[in-house]
Structures are given as C-alpha cells and as structure tokens.
Symmetry: C3
Subunit: 210 residues, 3 copies
C-alpha cells in the first residue's frame, strides 16, 4: 500500500502534470486555429489520456471519474491558453520546461500506482511510460502533428529510464520517498539535458549499400 | 436509477444513433474505395466506438457485448451503404441531418448513463461528449480525414451544450423526460442552426504582429 | 470453460503472435529511423495492442499484466530487429509470412477467449477481428502509414472469415481442437492465397456518371 502522505503527494503531482499536459494540448489547438471548445477538448484528452489508459489496464477506477477536479483543471488551463496564447507561445521554451516537470511527475505517479496494484516490475515501467506518453500521442494524432514517438528527441526514453529507476530503488525496500525522488530526478535530468544539448539516441540508419 | 421506460427509450435511441454513425463510417469507406469488409469494420468502429470508451471509463459492461444487436445494426447499415452508396452520397445533406439526430440521441444517452453510475456533473458532461465524438474521431483517424475536432463547425460544441443542459435540468429533480427532451433539443437545434447558417465559433487567431 | 491443454496452446500461440506483430511494429520503426527505445515502444504497442482492447472490452484481466513475459518477448523482438533490420528487411517476404501465421494464431486465440467469456457469436467474431487488427491499426496510425484497414489486400477479411469459421465449428459441440484448427487454417490459407495471388475484394467504385 502506498502510504497516505505519498498518496497526497501523488495527487498534487497529478494536478501539476494535468496542467502542463493540458497546456501542450491547448497549444496544438492554437496552432490549428480551433475555437475555445476545441482547446478544451484537446486539453482534456491530452491532460488525462495517459492516466486513463493506465487505470483501464490496471482495472483501477479512472482517476478523473473519482475526482473530477482533474477535468476542471484541464478546462481552466485550456481556457487560459485560449486567451493568453500569444504570450504563452512566445514563452514556448518555458512551456517545454513545465512539460518536462510534468513528464517527471506522471512517470513517478504512474509507476507508483501500478506497483500499488502489485503488478510486476516490467509492467510497472510500461505503465509509467504509458501515463507519460499516451496523452501526447493522442494529442499529436488528432492534431495531425508528427507523433512524439517518431521524434528523435529523448522523451519516451526519459520516462522509461525514470520509471526503471523508480522500480529499481523501490526494490531496495527503502521508504516511499527515495524511489519517488530518484525516479523524478532521473526523468527530469535526462529530459533537461536532452533539451539543453539537443541530445538524441542514434536512430536506425538504413545501410547505404542497399 | 434510470426508470425502465427511459432505459427502453435509451435503447431505442442508441440503435438509431448506431445506424446514423455507422452510415457516416461507411461513407468514409466509400470515399476511400474500400471493399465490403472495410465498410463493415469502419461502420462498426464508428458506430460503437464512442459508447465503448464511455462504458470502459464508467466500468460498465460494454453495451454491445451485453446486446449484440448494435453490432448487427452497424453491419447491416454498412452493407446497405456499400450497395447503395451512389444514391446515399447524392443525398449527403440528408445523411448530415440523420447524423445530427444521432448526435443529439447519443449525447442524451451518454450523459444519462453516466449520471446513472452516480458520477459528478462535469464527468457526466464529458461522458456525453465522449459518446458523441469518439466514434467520429476514430473514423477520421483511420480514414486519414481531418478530424471532427479540427473542423471549425459546431459539432463537439453542440454535444457539450446539450450534455450541460441535461445535467442542469436533471438537477431540478423533475422526472426523467424533461432533462432528456431539453438535452436532445439543445444539441439538435444548435447543430441544425450551425449546419443551416454555417455557424462557427471564432477560431484562435495568431496575432498579426508576430 | 476452455480446457487446460487448449489454454496452454493459446498461451503458446499468443507468444508466437506477439513476436510476429512486434516485428512488424519494429520494421515500421526502422522505416522511420527511430532510436532503439522507439523500436521497443512501437514493438510493444503493436504486439499487445489488439489483445489489450479485447481484454478491456471483455472485462478480463489484461493478459500482459497477468503475465509480463509477453512484454519481454516484444522488447526482445524489437531489439533484435533494431540490430538486424537490414537482414530482416531484405527478407521482408519472410516477415509477411510470419505475420500471416501470427494473424491466424491471434484470430483463433481472440475468438476462443471471447467465447470463454460467454459472449454471443457475433461479439466473439468481432473480438477475433479486434485482436487481429487493432495492434496493426495503432502501429500504422503512430507511424503515419496507410492503415491496414484502408489497404485493398485481404487482411481484416481473412481474420473475419477465420473467426466466423471458429464460431461455426464450435457450435457443433466437437472438442476444442476442431474449431481451433478450422479457424486457423481458414485465416491462414485465405491470407496466404491473397498474398500469393495479390487477391483483393472489389473496392467500392464511385459511379463514372457522377
């Protein structure tokens, strides 16, 4: 069982993550010139999409059905972006940094929730990656943008490393804070370094001789 | 609990909606020149996709697993469209009006079912919009068509207004018929006016000074 | 209830199918020049996507949460493809034949599992087709490739025929082996003939007079 203080932390992190993900959804809506309902719908789908798939697969009650404030947060965020998009777009780098924080938060929250349902280590890692990336995948599919899965930048990779770190440290039977901090910092630092130095893993190269 | 007579009405509305949604799926198949199995598969995915996601999120038994006549209806509709597509395409406006009726039906049915599972008001509205739009989103993704979410026309908006109306009127503790009628007419009339007068909400405009 | 020996057979077939589907996902990753994490993520989504949707709809525990070796298999397959892709690409025809075997396996396994949950015949057929095709649909959506649903080749059709055969023969109350063999051979032979002779069903033709 996840202790109560960690559940409270997860709930807080989830809200921060919903804000940052909903903001990236609304920014795609602004690039497509949608109306305010389009901002809201894309904001909600991006903000809660990953956690919804995680909860369905774990057979857990869907988090935003249990507690609808996640929806409220996504709708408010999308509305703010609609009216403030010019100022936000000119601060796109800031949004990317918030998104990196959100990525690190949901990776930890997704992996922790999966382990709380007593799944195996590999399943927990996949659940962390799912929570971190499925909202963005849905956003890019509906917005006709290149999927984050196809981009060379280290995004899914950061989540996979962070989730793996969480599972590894959790196996040492320390208290709940250690794996959470370790998973958070690995995800965030890997993503931050990749953003700062334009890192990418070597993509598969089709041999020239072909 | 939803009273039995309303459950019967919902079941009837669901069938009408499955027909109209499956028809729009099959018409995308006709634009892509698919074979009859392609018509059927796209008809089924469009016809039951939205309600399936609603039931999964609510942790309700999936409606077409409980009662497979929804599948039968979708398959028959898709087959009819395959053989009658030229005549149907030339009546595309008629199809759009049926689709508007279907939209109003499933918005009411989706919102009512969600409230019957005792979710909050906002969750019920999102479930109404989900039931109304996810089938079309899947259809447009697979058919490589611009998503209904990206179009400027008032479609998701009509569902959102209708679902909100339902939840509002339902809160007055009248009998079941009043919220259903109110939700239906708001959805249908908003969509009908938008179709007739080519209404659209103002899309986000990137500032010229940028 | 499915007898134990058939459950063992299904588990074995599922693993073979996960390998062949994950390989097709990884080959899309190679066409897109992704890094090794991209290969893995696309391999996992393609390898377990169809079965995941089947289990969610049936309200069954998701198979790879119960037994994470399916994930391991997909990750290993994707890694092998990453390092051996040139050799595999030059044997693309071989991959297509493995994929046809995988298609026949999961069609049988998906239909059998659905019937084990005591759904109706039509639902079981749709579940067989879902298991067989949803992984590929997700792969093509994320990889920006034309969806297998849009292609003229007989793929979904082979699965639909195989699943229908399974349900038909199962209705004769023979032992479990007969419907499994019949479903397998119908799916595989139809797909094999379609590949060999470039068969396709007649696509819908827009009338010239229009």
């Amino acid at each position: 069982m996840i202790p109560v203080e960690f559940q409270n932390l997860i709930a807080f992190l989830d809200i921060f993550a919903a804000v940052s993900f909903a903001a990236t959804g609304a920014l795609v809506a602004s690039r497509k010139g949608l109306d305010i309902l389009g901002f809201m719908w894309l904001g909600v789908l991006t903000g809660v999409g990953g956690g919804t798939v995680r909860d369905l697969v774990l057979d857990a009650p869907v988090f935003w059905v249990v507690n609808s404030q996640y929806l409220t947060i996504c709708l408010i965020t999308a509305s703010i972006v609609y009216f403030a998009a010019p100022r936000i777009e000119s601060r796109y780098t800031l949004v990317l940094w918030f998104d990196a924080l959100g990525l690190a938060f949901v990776t930890v929250a997704g992996t922790a929730k999966a382990l709380d349902y007593e799944v195996g280590a590999l399943v927990a890692i996949i659940m962390g990656v799912t929570t971190a990336s499925v909202g963005g995948i849905i956003r890019d599919l509906i917005g006709h943008e290149p999927s984050i899965v196809l981009k060379q930048e280290i995004y899914v990779t950061a989540a996979a490393l962070g989730a793996s770190t969480y599972v590894l440290v959790e196996g040492w039977n320390l208290d709940w804070l250690h794996p959470a901090l370790a998973g958070f910092f690995v995800t965030f630092i890997v993503r931050a370094l990749a953003m700062t130095f334009n890192w990418s893993l070597p993509g598969y190269q089709r041999p020239a001789s072909k």
